[in-house]
């Protein structure tokens, strides 16, 4: 049933976006749950949200602990529907690009007693490193969005940062659902459905950030809730930054989100390059999604060698270039060049890419230093020569 709801439509530089009326094909399952094509979204905290009548809820400044009860409930209802709008839009985009995904269950207001303000994509596992799950997780995966933990500013006013109100967080988590059911970087399809792994690698986190950037149409995906972090810090996860493999840290103990930015910003740079050449961004997006699908169908062997290879940026880059070539898209060379600028080339492990990129950076710095030293010496000589010339001139002048 088509209903009119309100949602934040991303708009770069303006918080969660602009508030718009959106037509949504949605069914009310119960007083806290809605279902739309491809997705079910359920609020976990008590209190009826959907009784009857209009589904056009106000965001009520995100609700949160300072809001009166009625406004808090309105904000939660808005969050459920805002998430539904973005997830359905994203799922439709992926289907159009060649990746239909299984039905997605989304739980909003999770881990409220822990004051969790983030989002995560969960697959069933024997245990969880953080935030234990009280209920079994769906085999196809679930997105969990926290209750929120901080206030931000929006148009000069306080706004409680409920993750379900933030399109970037919603779309990033949808990116994980896409990865799980296409590239499947951790080969969960070969594991016991009840014992999948939730450990994420930089390639997956970067891909999820790229997905968020595509769907939000902004490189600065977290510019709202991480606006206080300078764009040149990895924590900001701004894709419009010149990260290269020299900035890649690697290692299982490092934050995969931070290293994922290197991959995500390379993808964004390639996309932007093609746009600059007059191509439609969606052509590149399709190549990426097709590559993810192709990766998910190859090397189906749950060995450490294969898993390691799937973590390599070059492995995914090769798949993107192949996808471009197979579909007769004449932009493989430009894409390869864009990635090479970031130190990512085909056929090389992440560690070797990093070594190369750092060597190149060091050599460039040394060459620059040498050039500057030479220029300084030459400038010094010129100054000396000038002084000598002036002295000679003075002497000459003095003799006339």
């Amino acid at each position: 049933m088509i209903r009119t709801v309100q949602a934040w439509i991303p708009q770069p530089g303006s918080g969660p976006g602009r508030l718009e009326d959106v037509d949504l094909d949605v069914e009310i399952v119960d007083d806290r749950t809605v279902a739309a094509e491809g997705v079910t979204v359920a609020e976990q905290r008590p209190g009826p949200l959907f009784r009857s009548g209009s589904l056009r809820f106000d965001p009520c400044a995100g609700g949160g602990p300072l809001a009166p009860q009625e406004e808090g409930l309105q904000a939660r209802a808005f969050g459920v529907l805002n998430a539904t709008v973005h997830l359905q839009r994203g799922l439709r985009t992926f289907r159009r690009l060649g990746a239909p995904l299984p039905h997605l269950l989304v739980k909003v207001g999770m881990h409220a007693p822990d004051h969790w303000g983030g989002g995560h994509y969960r697959l069933p596992a024997p245990s969880y490193t953080v935030l234990e799950e009280a209920e079994p997780v769906a085999e196809a995966g679930e997105i969990h969005l926290g209750a929120g933990s901080e206030f931000l500013r929006l148009a000069g006013q306080r706004y409680f940062h409920a993750p379900a109100h933030d399109p970037a967080i919603i779309c990033h988590e949808l990116g994980h659902h896409l990865c799980r059911h296409t590239a499947d970087f951790r080969l969960n399809q070969l594991r016991d459905p009840a014992a999948q792994t939730n450990h994420r690698s930089p390639i997956e986190e970067g891909t999820a950030d790229f997905v968020a950037a595509i769907l939000c149409d902004s490189a600065d995906i977290y510019g709202w809730h991480r606006g206080h972090v300078p764009p040149y810090e990895k924590l900001r996860r701004c894709l419009d930054t010149p990260w290269t493999m020299a900035d890649y840290l690697g290692g299982s103990e490092k934050d995969p989100h931070a290293d994922g930015v290197v991959w995500a910003s390379a993808l964004w740079a390639a996309r932007s390059t093609l746009q600059g050449q007059g191509r439609r961004a969606e052509e590149f997006d399709a190549a990426v999604v097709e590559a993810l699908v192709a990766i998910g169908r190859r090397d189906l062997d749950l060995s450490e060698t294969v898993l390691r290879r799937r973590r390599y940026f070059s492995y995914s880059l090769e798949a993107i270039l192949e996808s471009a070539a197979e579909r007769g898209r004449p932009f493989a060379e430009a894409v390869a060049q864009a990635f090479a600028t970031r130190g990512i080339v085909a056929g090389v492990s992440n560690r070797r890419l990093r070594r190369r990129a750092r060597r190149l950076r060091r050599e460039t710095a040394e060459a620059t230093e040498a050039t500057e030293a030479t220029e300084a010496t030459e400038a010094g000589r010129a100054v000396e020569a000038g002084r000598a010339g002036r002295a000679a001139g003075t002497a000459w002048a003095g003799t006339t």
């Binding site: 300072l66 808090g72 822990d114 004051h115 933990s149 901080e150």
Partner: protein, 344 residues
């Protein structure tokens, strides 16, 4: 004899302690034989006679400054009520004691059995201004603020006694609120002069901090309750006036301390949430029983108790409010204290 703040640390200079922090560096002051009988707040210079308990003082910015016999320290007369340390009073004669590292000077009347005897001082002079008038902490008090309330509320932290974890709890609440994007003010409304609690609030993210010294008292023990009530209101108004959306007030000592109890009673209708810091479940239950008839909204229990899982379990069984550690408050639970609906 003229004193300059920069003299501190030199063999013949004076070490200016935390209770002198409001004396402007630009003020021309000198030493003179006292002409008035000792009273709380009077600023004096004292010679260190014998180092016992305290071998350092806290200077005007909070640095621990080592002291040696023969050093001159500038501090303030005051009383101290500290069950774990000393009971002390404004002295009647020059031979007296260092009651706190913050520079509170008075004569010890009783010592907790676990403590060393106090460091001995001899008061040598009063601090006077250029007209010869004896100076007091009262001379540097802030003006009366315009009454206004913090928009998101006032939280008060009280304890079952000294060293129950009150300051750590306040720091946890400040951290939690500041991390959530709230401009928060922190204040210690009663206690004995020291800078370290205020620094703890600042380190936790407080946008603005105050204590009783800002309203003229180097310590609060012995002052009329009316003065303490007035000071508490002034502190709250001043912090709100500085733009703090939420204010967290720490009240020293335990609820059984006479002035604390009298002050807490007067906060009905002013505070939005009361937090009790305690060392055990019995203290938590007793505090809840004392607060309830006063009509004060006890919202949660924290403090040292939360280090012991068994004590937490005991407290949860006998209380109807959450038991939350300072770390959990810092991680976000502090927000629940400001919630429009009661914590459930």
């Amino acid at each position: 004899m003229r004193l300059a703040h920069s003299d501190g640390g030199t063999p013949y200079g004076a070490k200016w302690t935390a209770v002198t922090r409001l004396v402007p560096s630009s003020l021309e002051c000198s030493l003179s034989p006292p002409t008035l009988p000792p009273r709380p707040g009077q600023l004096v210079a004292a010679r260190v006679e014998q180092i016992v308990a305290h071998d350092h003082v806290e200077d005007r910015v909070g640095r621990r400054a080592r002291i040696f016999p023969g050093d001159l320290v500038v501090g303030a007369y005051g009383n101290r009520y500290a069950t774990d340390v000393y009971e002390g009073y404004v002295p009647k004669r020059p031979q007296t004691h260092l009651l706190t590292a913050g520079g509170l000077i008075g004569t010890v009347a009783s010592v907790n059995g676990s403590q060393k005897l106090p460091t001995e001082l001899e008061v040598v002079a009063a601090l006077v201004d250029e007209t010869g008038r004896q100076l007091s902490t009262e001379d540097f008090a802030l003006p009366e603020p315009v009454p206004c309330d913090p928009s998101l509320g006032t939280i008060v932290v009280v304890g079952s006694g000294m060293n129950a974890g009150k300051t750590t709890t306040v720091a946890g609440i400040i951290r939690g609120l500041a991390r959530a994007g709230i401009k928060v003010g922190g204040a210690k409304v009663t206690g004995s002069g020291s800078g370290k609690d205020l620094w703890s609030y600042v380190d936790s993210g407080a946008a603005s901090v105050l204590d009783f010294l800002d309203y003229g008292m180097p310590s609060t023990f012995g002052y009329p309750v009316e003065r303490l009530i007035e000071t508490t209101h002034r502190i709250r108004h001043e912090l709100a006036g500085r733009g703090c959306e939420a204010v967290v007030l720490e009240i020293a000592d335990g609820l059984l301390q006479l002035e604390t109890r009298a002050l807490v009673k007067e906060l009905v209708g002013v505070v939005d949430a009361v937090v009790v810091a305690t060392v055990d479940a019995l203290g938590a239950r007793a505090a809840a029983d004392m607060l309830e008839p006063m009509g004060l909204p006890l919202r949660l229990v924290s403090g040292l108790l939360t280090r012991a899982p068994l004590a937490v379990r005991e407290a949860r069984e006998v209380l109807g409010v959450p038991v939350v550690s300072p770390d959990e408050l810092a991680a976000g639970a502090a927000l629940d204290l400001l919630a429009a609906v009661p914590v459930s």
